[in-house]
Symmetry: C2
Amino acid sequence: MALTDDAIAKIRSMISSGELPPGARLPPEPQLAAQMGLSRSGVREAVKVLESARVLDVRRGDGTYVTSLAPRLLLEGLGVAVELLRGDTLLEVMEVRRMLEPVATGLAALRMTDAQLEELGQILADMRAAADDAEKLIQFDTAFHHTVIAATGNETLTSLLDGLSGRTLRARVWRGLIEGNAAHKTIDEHHAIYLALRSRDQLLAQASALMHVNTSEAWLRTVLAATAET
Amino acid sequence: MALTDDAIAKIRSMISSGELPPGARLPPEPQLAAQMGLSRSGVREAVKVLESARVLDVRRGDGTYVTSLAPRLLLEGLGVAVELLRGDTLLEVMEVRRMLEPVATGLAALRMTDAQLEELGQILADMRAAADDAEKLIQFDTAFHHTVIAATGNETLTSLLDGLSGRTLRARVWRGLIEGNAAHKTIDEHHAIYLALRSRDQLLAQASALMHVNTSEAWLRTVLAATAET
DNA sequence: GGGCGGCAAACGTCGGACGTATCTATAGTG
DNA sequence: CACTATAGATACGTCCGACGTTTGCCGCCC
């Protein structure tokens, strides 16, 4: 494993050292191969790994470049990782959300702009209108929480929570909610969060977010228990 | 990009669907290539990507297997991602720690066992004894926080916070601490956290952890400002 | 000045070859 | 019978060379 992994480490080190800043262009693959003492095949594997980690951007026919290294890119991988977590560890993920999301929502109450509140109200209305379409509900739910967290202005936090709230996880929770006729109640919870944010009430925002995550966790337990029986 | 990325998606989907459970063995590369309609080179790139994400475990001379998919493996990539974050976004990371670590430490106060407390006391003693060795301080600091968070029993949370407290980030903070003659004060903060945990006092643990993260953040700001001038 | 076409550069994919590590089954030995 | 040593098969690691396709750019033409 030495050669290819060494190449990965070398490229990564050139980036973190500043030798290859964001936007920089790497030498062509054959030249890079010679420079690092391995074949083009090995370089391609290394580049592919860094591309999948959103560290490099490979443009066919053009060249290979370092990305912006923005957190939204580098933390994208968290989402795919969470998608592969199994059964009980999903409850661990939910516990993390339970710890993080209320505090973050409280912070959002202090920082949210009027325009963002407006947008949030629209999403809430959309959600109410889609109360019988699971697919749309999941979509608006994702947008709602993303908008709230993004209002903190912390892109790292936003990407992290986006990743923790993977699509599969959300889908499972909403499946439980709908089958348990609890979708309406959950939409009301979103409304409570919205009202707290609108009042710029940090503590209330925090509390309402905690109750909401708690509901999600409860339904996830239900769904997981039902799945385990089968 | 279609072929190799398709292969990655296919393998990942076979895993998340349960067709390839943890520990399962994949077909040999040539066979896998034929099965997915591309050359062995392409398969190797796909496998390499999943190996770097700790989804697959490639054993030379033997075969390729699905890992345990434990969160400690899948979230390992978060650490390397954080290592590549630049300047100001490190403050965002610190803000996330500021939100998450106190709550997690409070939870640890409720769940920590006597044996874990004992271990924590030992690490604290080691830290005091190494008060003039930056390298060791960083090492014991890492062990201290890892032990505290691990006491929550939530492996996902532990891996997440481990990743957020990357080695480079820690090194920068401690460099500031030592140059600013604040190492001793910081060790006292660790002691305060230890005492709170020992008293099983959730709120006090939470508060002491917040003060500690706050100190780290302040010194990180100092170091970043000094770096920016140069 | 702007649009069009062709050339060169660079990545995408393929096929085959050979080296090396690992596992296993077999034969041998005490 | 149990254990060891060895030979073969299996599978990944690395390299090389070739060709297709895409993209960017520059010069030509209108």
